[in-house]
Amino acid sequence: MGRLNVKLIIGLIMISFFLLIAVFGPIFAPYKVDELAEVKYNSTEEGRTLSAPPFPPSKEHLFGTDQWGYDILTLLLYGAKYTIFTVIIVALLRVIIGGSLGIFVALNQNSLNFPAKSAKLKINIFSGFPVFIILYFILIRINIEPVLSPLTLSAIVGTLMVILGVIGVYENVYSKTMELQKKLYITASQSLGGNKIHIAKQHILPSLKSQMYIIFMNEVIQVLHLIGQLGIFNLFFGGTFIRMDPPVFISITKEWAGLIGQFRSTIYYYQWILFFPLISYLLLLFSLYLVSQGIIQQEKVNQRKNPIL
């Protein structure tokens, strides 16, 4: 209707910005990832005072440094690629595998047999458990001080996250395809001799396209949640190592949710250390949300009826 879809545009701009950071982040980084801020001597009236990390945000360290003197902006720029690409790849695989399975199974079933609403009891023993619990039990003793390389570990966790999410996408796409199959144009296509591949390509996929985008964005958001929750329990994506005396869990990959998890203990003393990773994570989430809302708005059918009261 000629109106600009502000949400979609802003969301896409923000996401492209995050993608840029993910690809070129390390080039823009002001310091090296393993570079420590030096202990500084400041001359004051009483003499010289020592100032040691953590340094609050300043000109040299825009986002400040953590308690060992690592520059937080640098850590974020280095870690971005792990967060952003994992989230996108895992969600993409979930949608591709779950979606094609859903369409395939639905097309091989007679749409008349599809129950309008299943009255089955939907409760089972996993009803109350968050998804991360399953990953928690698998990872708890292999993710901390890992023997596997960060890449292998990421691949394992990524695969598990794909498997755990595929079922949801499958069910969603399956029921949507079943609904679509009742449409007259599909019956027409069938009686004209269109085979299943033809129907899937010409009719189902085009009408599910925007739905698929929405599902994809939701999956991205869910994977982001999942990584974050694991990070809270010190199971950082790509591996955790422990720095002794006192024991502190450190993210090997500097992935954002991992940074949030590792800086969680600084909350009472040095707020900025936790604040900036938290804000980056939230902004990423916000841009994803904007895009998904933008698509929904684009999609919103105009035939929605108006309320009477």
Binding site: K120, L121, K122, I123, N124, I125, F126, S127, G128, F129, P130, F132, I133, I134, F137, I138, I140, R141, I142, E145, P146, V147, L148, I221, L224, H225, G228, Q229, I232, F233, I260, R264, I267, Y268, Q271, L274, F275, L278, Y281, L282, L285, F286, Y289, Q293, K305, N306, P307, I308, L309
Partner: protein
């Protein structure tokens, strides 16, 4: 046939749960190698089940002391149940008022804002709240609220319940909003309006009775969402509850299979008990307000 399928699914998920709980014992890093002994797991499960009948599985070791698990568990269970059910009752009441009564079409940005807060993960919300309160404390020296429980006698109550309510609340307000919108477009509302019935009457007798079934159908999902949030919230606020046994006890007293499995099962019991509490509450409200 469908009953058979139901039982197969239930049995499979219980076996999966038993298997998962045994993984930390048989999948681990040692001496620079990854060790995985899946064949030992059936043994462990069998031992546990035999122990259920001999009584062995109901005891666990707390350091050197051997303690009866069920009596220790019950106080943690009650505490979790307290947080969960109180916050869910708040959620149901508020979502009903906000979702159905204060329904407004015009304020789209409110709707969007609600949507965004609804997708903020629980742990981010907790950390932001904790940051905010420590910030206020640093600036003004006023301790507004307790950020976390320091000891058992002095638990943080407001923040955990607040956080626990807020996420399902926004989800529910949005769904009830959508449903109310749908119901308000129906012809019977038009008929009622044409008959000259008051707004109040139409809401009480037509709108609520048609939106309520959706709420009931969604209940199992909402309790699920809340219970999932409870894991994170108890952990981050350090409140006493079942998650403490699940995450802290293995660190302090070694990983004990029976302890973990029974705790996981009691989460399911917690789920069922909370669900029943909420259903009972809605049933009573319906009896008193709508039929009365």
């Amino acid at each position: 046939m469908s009953y058979l399928k139901f039982f197969v699914i239930q049995a499979a998920s219980i076996i999966l749960l038993f298997f998962l709980a045994a993984l930390p014992l048989y999948l681990y890093n040692m001496d620079g190698r990854l060790i995985f002994q899946p064949l030992e797991i059936p043994n462990e499960i069998a031992n546990f089940i035999i122990g259920l009948f001999t009584g062995e599985s109901y005891f666990y070791m707390q350091g050197d002391r051997r303690r009866f698990l069920l009596s220790d568990l019950s106080s943690f269970f009650l505490s979790s149940y307290f947080y969960l059910s109180i916050s869910l009752l708040i959620v149901i009441i508020l979502s009903f008022i906000l979702g159905i009564w204060f329904w407004k079409k015009s304020e789209k940005w409110v709707y969007s804002a609600l949507g965004f807060i609804g997708i903020i993960p629980d742990f981010i919300l907790v950390l932001l709240l904790q940051l905010l309160i420590t910030y206020i404390y640093k600036k003004t020296g006023v301790k507004v609220l307790k950020v976390a429980s320091l000891s058992m006698d002095d638990p943080a109550i407001f923040l955990p319940i607040f956080t626990l309510s807020i996420l399902p609340l926004f989800y529910l307000i949005r769904t009830l909003n959508d449903k109310t919108y749908e119901v308000l477009t129906e012809d019977y509302i038009l008929t009622a309006k044409a008959k000259g019935l008051t707004k109040r009457y139409i809401y009480l007798n037509h709108v609520i009775s048609n939106v309520l079934p959706f709420l009931k159908a969604d209940l199992y999902k909402i309790v699920g969402i809340s219970l999932s949030n409870l894991f994170i919230i108890e952990y981050l606020y350090n409140t006493r509850g079942l998650t403490e046994i699940l995450f802290e006890y293995p660190n302090n007293f070694g990983y004990q299979y029976n302890l973990v499995v029974i705790t996981l099962l009691s989460f399911f019991v917690l789920y069922i008990v909370t669900l029943l509490t909420i259903i009972l509450f809605i049933f009573l409200v319906e009896r008193i307000f709508i039929n009365g």
